[in-house]
């Protein structure tokens, strides 16, 4: 009994802080999502109407919401595997026995992660420029006609994905590199003696040994990529034809540009449900793999 009380007492500071800065705001946001809080309500609270789940219905029937959801899923579906592949590839190159100047390359490949999005977006806009961009210039050498990266609704999302992958792969690379370095080298040695090829070593040693790290990395990346915002915000502002509007960008516009805070809160809860579902699925998937 006494011990019980001491336990509560010791965890009280943390619980109070968590309650005040996490649970209360979340509850308040949920309450807000049941109202039509907007500019008029900000002026005079009498203008606030309680709409129950009206905001949720409204958001779910708005074509732009579904469009932003498709855009986000496109970004996650293509961006996450690409990003992890890039991270794993570069981590393996850095881990290789034959690699030179490891410190330099590790820093160089990690550099995009710590640069400001806004600053590098300016550079990327030049790289992606239809007429003067380096990317189209290179493609022209292979006989590919100039692509209107940021103006063509079919190419804008690939351009954003390319930018995001380049910007983020370094972070996972460092985690995966640590994972690779913790694989005992004698496993590879044994495999080589048994005559396993490089691909076989990768499939039967590297991947299984990296599984927990890969699971962690994919959960972090998936939940991060679902919150796509800064890239379209600085590169395209959702254009062209709303092909780069993500769910979070949609929420930002509703909430902070148009001040429809009620509806924006509803979107936030929908996005939360989505990310939760995706991570639970991913974890299930990971666990099932472990048992097999």
């Amino acid at each position: 009994m006494n011990e019980n009380r001491a336990g509560w007492l010791l965890s009280a500071p943390a619980l109070i802080v968590l309650g005040a800065f996490f649970f209360v705001p979340v509850l308040a946001a949920f309450a807000l999502s049941l109202t039509d809080f907007d500019l008029y309500a900000l002026a005079d609270l009498h203008n606030l109407r309680f709409v129950w789940f009206g905001n949720y219905v409204d958001v779910l029937t708005r074509p732009l919401f579904w469009k932003s959801l498709v855009n986000t899923l496109y970004f996650v579906g293509v961006g996450v595997p690409l990003s992890i592949a890039a991270s794993l590839g570069s981590a393996m190159l850095l881990d290789s026995q034959r690699a030179r100047w490891k410190g330099f390359f590790r820093t160089a490949l990690f550099a995009p992660v710590v640069t400001t999005v806004v600053a590098v977006a300016v550079i990327w806009r030049y790289l992606l420029h239809t007429r003067y961009g380096l990317i189209n210039y290179t493609l022209a050498h292979f006989g590919i006609a100039p692509i209107d990266w940021l103006g063509d609704p079919h190419w804008s999302m690939p351009a954003i994905i390319l930018f995001a992958v380049w910007k983020n792969f370094g972070y996972n690379m460092i985690i995966l590199l640590a994972g690779l370095q913790s694989i005992p080298p004698d496993l590879y040695e044994a495999a080589r003696i048994d005559g396993a090829s490089a691909t076989q070593q990768f499939r039967h040693i590297t991947l299984p040994m990296l599984r927990p790290v890969l699971l962690l990395v994919s959960i972090i990346t998936v939940s991060g990529y679902f919150q796509l915002f800064a890239e379209p915000y600085v590169m395209t502002q959702g254009d062209p034809l709303q092909s780069t509007v993500s769910v979070l960008y949609f929420m930002y516009e509703e909430g902070f540009k148009w001040w429809s805070l009620g509806r924006a809160s509803a979107i936030a809860f929908l996005l939360f449900a989505l990310i939760l579902a995706a991570t639970v699925l991913l974890q299930r998937f990971g666990r099932r793999g472990e048992m097999a």
Binding site: D44, G151, P153, D239, L241
Partner: protein, 438 residues
């Protein structure tokens, strides 16, 4: 109010700015030995972008004339200003006065954040409403109440390349849409497939809306509670706008896709460019000297001759929260004097909203300004509802759908009206409620 002033004026405290915690403690202690006279009023003013950078140059004179007032100007970046104003309202942190964009004025008025200015104007010798361009003044009158004094005006018109037009066989600037179409076709034929006749950036709603207000049909109907984009007038303007893309006179591009509009204008990538007065200074500075005689400005052609444009610009507003309305009004009067407006124009190129300021030879003889002068006489306010900016974005999306998505204008405009009606739903219900109460 006293403590921050002390920190700013006291040099040795500032040098040790690293010790923030200590400084906060000191600030309270130093409050007692402030160097500023205690009866001095400090006005907090928010400026936006370039205007905030140059206004302190004018304020030095104001402070000399009014030794008991000090003005503390804080600069907001244009992109963050709107959010900042709204959050400041929510957090009771608005300044005494601010520069407020015309499209934001109805919003701040609906919030009840602004003080009505009519009583001040009635007693003022400096500010004469009749001296202001009608459309600009009207922009500041919401439901019969005056909430702002126009500070500078802007209106979008066409900048063009004289040399290319002459080479294409167009001797005089077009006045009607029909003449303009002929000119655009001639320029396109002259410059070939790689270059264009006009730039209408797809990320801006201003070009289309400025064409649309030249028609008699208003943009919103039923006491500004419903969209009126399927009206015959808007359809005509929309058809003219889309035609420029369909005939390949205008590139399907956003401004972000053109790294540098000034270079491209100089290179003749496009010959007409619909933009505002701030670009006069930019073109003077950024175009090479050999091109300086080859560009000019002209009023926007209308369906039957120039018929107007949207009155843009910024006004000076007094916030209700301010404890020094009298001093704020003195500052607004000072900044509204023709002499100060001319200095302001010299500093940043902004155009004055008063006819008497335009009578000055410096402006009257400016060859780029005369087109603006002509158009300002016809300028009209944009719909004065808080939702306007949001509706304008929908207009932009609609035009983008028609241009980039090749959707039929009928469907696009029907959707636009529907979306506008949705956005204005709350406004309708509030107006209905207030009618019932009466």
């Amino acid at each position: 109010m006293q403590a921050p002033v002390t920190i700013q004026s006291s040099g040795n405290v500032r040098q040790h700015a690293g010790l923030v915690g200590l400084m906060l403690g000191l600030a309270a202690a130093l409050g007692g030995c402030a160097r500023e006279p205690t009866d001095r009023v400090v006005l907090r003013m928010w400026g936006i972008g370039r205007e905030a950078e140059v206004v302190p140059a004018l304020l030095a004179d104001f402070e000399r004339l009014h030794p008991s007032i000090r003005v503390d100007v804080q600069a907001l970046p244009l992109t963050g200003a709107h959010e900042k104003l709204l959050t400041a309202f929510a957090g009771d942190a608005l300044p005494d006065l601010a520069q407020l964009g015309n499209t934001w004025l109805p919003e701040m008025a609906a919030l009840g954040a602004l003080s009505p200015l009519q009583p001040f104007v009635a007693a003022s010798r400096v500010i004469q409403p009749a001296d202001y361009f009608g459309g600009i003044w009207d922009t500041n009158v919401i439901d019969g109440e005056l909430f702002g004094i126009p500070w500078y005006v802007d209106t979008r018109l066409a900048f063009y390349r004289k040399d290319i037009l002459e080479a294409a066989g167009i001797p005089a600037p077009p006045r009607t849409w029909a003449e303009w179409s002929t000119a655009l076709a001639a320029v396109k034929a002259h410059v070939g497939p790689e270059r264009y006749a006009i730039l209408l950036p797809l990320n801006e709603y201003e070009p289309l809306l400025n064409l649309a207000v030249q028609e008699a049909d208003p943009l919103l109907k039923d006491n500004d509670t419903r969209g009126n984009f399927q009206s015959a007038g808007f359809r005509r303007a929309f058809a003219f706008y889309l035609d420029a893309f369909h005939k390949d006179w205008a590139p399907e591009m956003s401004a972000t896709q053109i790294s540098n509009v000034w270079d491209e204008f100089g290179a003749g990538f496009f010959s007409y460019f619909i933009t505002g007065p701030w670009n006069v200074g930019e073109f003077k500075r950024r175009l090479p000297r050999r091109l300086q005689n080859d560009w000019a400005t002209m009023p926007l052609p209308g369906p039957n001759g120039p018929g107007g444009a949207i009155a843009g610009g910024s006004s000076l507003v007094l916030f209700k929260q301010s404890k020094h309305p009298r001093e704020v009004w003195q500052l607004i009067e000072f900044l509204s004097e023709p002499a100060q407006q001319l200095r302001f124009h010299e500093l940043c190129g902004d155009l004055p909203p008063r006819r008497s300021s335009w009578a000055d030879p410096a402006l009257a003889s400016d060859r780029y300004a005369s087109a603006f002068r002509e158009q300002l006489e016809n300028a009209k306010p944009a719909p004065k509802v808080p939702e306007w900016e949001r509706i304008a974005q929908q207009v932009r999306l609609a035009s983008e759908r028609a241009v980039r998505g090749h959707e039929s204008p009928d469907i696009v405009l029907r959707d636009l009206d529907q979306r506008t009606d949705e956005i204005l739903e709350k406004r309708r219900s509030m107006l209905a409620a207030s009618k019932e109460r009466k």
